[in-house]
Amino acid sequence: MRTGNCGSGASVVVVGGGVTGLSTAWWLARSGVDVIVLEKGIVGWEASGRNGGGTTHFNSPLFHEEQRLWPMMDELLGYPTEYRRERITIALTEQELSFYAAWRVHGRRSGYQVSDLDPKQVLELVPFANEANLGGLHLHFGGHANPQRTTQAYAWALQDLGGRIFQHATVVGIEVTADRVVGVNTTRGRFGLDSLVIAAGPQTGLLLGQVGVYLPLGIARAEMIITEPAPAIPIGGVDGNGLYGRQTLRGNLAFGGGPHEWVKVHADAQSRPTSPLTRNIARRLAQLLPGTAQLRLVRSWAGLIENTPDGRPVLDRLQQPANLVVATMSSVGFGLSPAVGRAVRDLVLDGRCSFTNIDKFNLRRFADLPADWIESRGWLPPEPAPEVGQDQRSRGR
């Protein structure tokens, strides 16, 4: 049944078919748990399949586990993720040199190897790079993977373990009895459950609102661009000049960075538009890697991303309802996803993460947040431009 009404139930229902929800469900299925994923569209359709593919978030307590797991993911999942190890950073300005110096300090503090690169070494490793670069770093850890392929890999691997995914199933109501969630109503029927995980990206706050839980989130749109294929760079994960990016295994250069736009999410609108920011990202890429300036830009794309007020995850099993786990990675979910899924599985089954401390990612920390927190940060959509000269213009219908 592809789109029909097919409600049923499972021990655990996960709302959200992005990397966080799918990895969680996959880990649960690996533990023999009967699990269902409900996705309002197609798996990996939103930010999970549209991000930069970076896997280098060494500030996170989940990073060690992420680093342990990524090299095994192709084998564990049974499908290719295009994971590649290591990254290069390139500084074009003094300011950027000191910016990346902090990466060096923190990378080493976390126990990872970081080599300094002089400008010539940068050019040896990244032949297209700006000859006037001021040097860079070789991170002997982290890396990058293909977001679209990886998300689909989680979904298929989950199905291979008996997990079920219902696409085009939008949650319209959450049933709570006493202090427990007992079911989820969707456009494809009702699903009964013992535990519920909400990992629905930008929708997470709205869904929690349905059970009276407040999760503060700001939603923004970010953009990326991609070129036609270039000759292979040995280490394809490259950052610099205000951009993060990766060379795909096909050779395309996919880069992003720069201003985001806070948005009001329109549930019915499919569009994830890009703006003329494309030209500014293109300029920075052409400066960072002048050897690619003749390459043709073939696409731009955008995605919607949620952020908590401190920009850090909420991974928490709530007190009330007690069988509800919240999982948002606050705009940094893809790279950490192998470890996040395991952590959330632990929260569902055991109430606590078994392999690292994630206590600071509780939801309680926002209990005293002022009501106007979002206004006080300016996380609001741009104000509509004044209708200059509208009266002088002939109006269309």
């Binding site: 789109t3 920011l277 690619t292 696409r299 731009s300 600071k360 213009r393």
Partner: protein
Amino acid sequence: MNRIRDRSAVDGKIVSPEEHAQVLIVGAGPAGLSAALESAAWGAKVLLIDENPIDPDLFGLDIPLYFGGRMTGSVRDRNRILERWFAAEPKFERALELGVDIRLGLTAWGLYANGPHMQALPVPMVGLADENRSWMCGFDKLILATGARDIALAFPGWDQPGVLGANGFRSLVERYSAFSGRRIVVFGSGPLAVSTALLARRNGIDVAAIVEVLDEAQSPASSLHELIGSDIPVLTRHTPLRAGQGADGADRLLLRDGTGKEVELSCDTICLAIGTAPAIELLNSAGGRTVPDARRGGHVPFLDGWATSIEHVFATGDCAALAANEDEAIEWGRQAARQALAQDWRGTPTGGADAWRYQAAWHEALTRQAEPPLIVCQCEAVTRADLLEVSAPRYLGQPTTRAMARNLSTLINDGPVNQDQIKRLTRAGMGVCQGRRCREQVAFTLSQAAHISPAEVPLAGFRPPVRPLPLRVIADWAEKPAMAAHWELWFGIRGQWAAYEDIGTEREFESFLGGG
């Protein structure tokens, strides 16, 4: 009230366009020119642009039309092409007299308008580019007259020079006077195929045959008589088997006739005149609403009169609905201009025959007998078998056992078919031609596999830039300082990158790490 702003957000950083047009018209074909003349007659200041003569490097990429490598080196002489085109189209002269600003060789690569998930633009705008640089142009009214694209369908040997589309052929012959072939075979027998064959004859190009896979020719007897009176054979119930591979591309065509006998035709060019598709790239990439309407030619703009779903943006000519003839396109151009400027117009484009039914029948016939591997996406070397198996690209190595158990049927079982999903998984349509040569045939393959009509296969989205421009051209080299100020690698949220152990300590906000 003084609003607090997130200084790393985009607010106010996308500045007003460098240029502004009262009426901007994209495409100087019959409809666009007609819209320009009409707008000028209403007293509007008009900017009329056309991407022709195109960057010579684009011919080899089959952008914007399917040129099939059959152009002479003279396409590099853009001045000669401009002079010829101007001389051949007296309306350019009239438009100039009426004060129309005509700029040729200018590409409109993006349309940007505020909508549900974007409010950052000060005004709606179009991205323009010449061979050296790009800039933005605002407009009071935008009339899209971007014409129609070629539809390509794969058959063995199609992925070599000498196989092209009807509009690409017409453009090379008429606009560029740079067609390098001598003897063509025309696929299809509808009005498009007939006009293609007649165009060839008028220009002294041999037409080896018109080929139709169906039992009957698809044109009225009257127009076929023009051909039958000549020495051009119309081969119905003939299925192309493959194009021969000569040193310079296609050198013959092998067919099977209705009795199963193989026939060989000598030719250097095979012209796919099975159909064209309204060029909706700009509108769709801006989030403009489209509807599947095979009678108008495929995925076409949702229209109210000639107004699209984006305020102040209109569509006319072949990009609104495939026009039956030039006179119709001219009339449509006039009406669109009238609606844009005076809200006085009649009608909305009507349709003709069901384009998809015919094209799908051809797709069926060409793929039924094709031996694998049949390349469907030339840029990314994706075969028909790869599509049916939903195979990951070959550079990812041998598929695992589990991956081999996945195919188009299992994917269709998991949810309604979606071309963008297939694109992500197989890379069909991801290449530098931006899916121009494969998008329709991938859609037909999906419709065939899922047993649904082509109209039920969601349109694979177009994304800006809708022409693949070099980074150095599309780059904003005159960026305003506000854009660079507080440019962050990611959101620039204070403390987002704090090391976990520092959270809640005095070191929490010490460092400000980005993250790749």
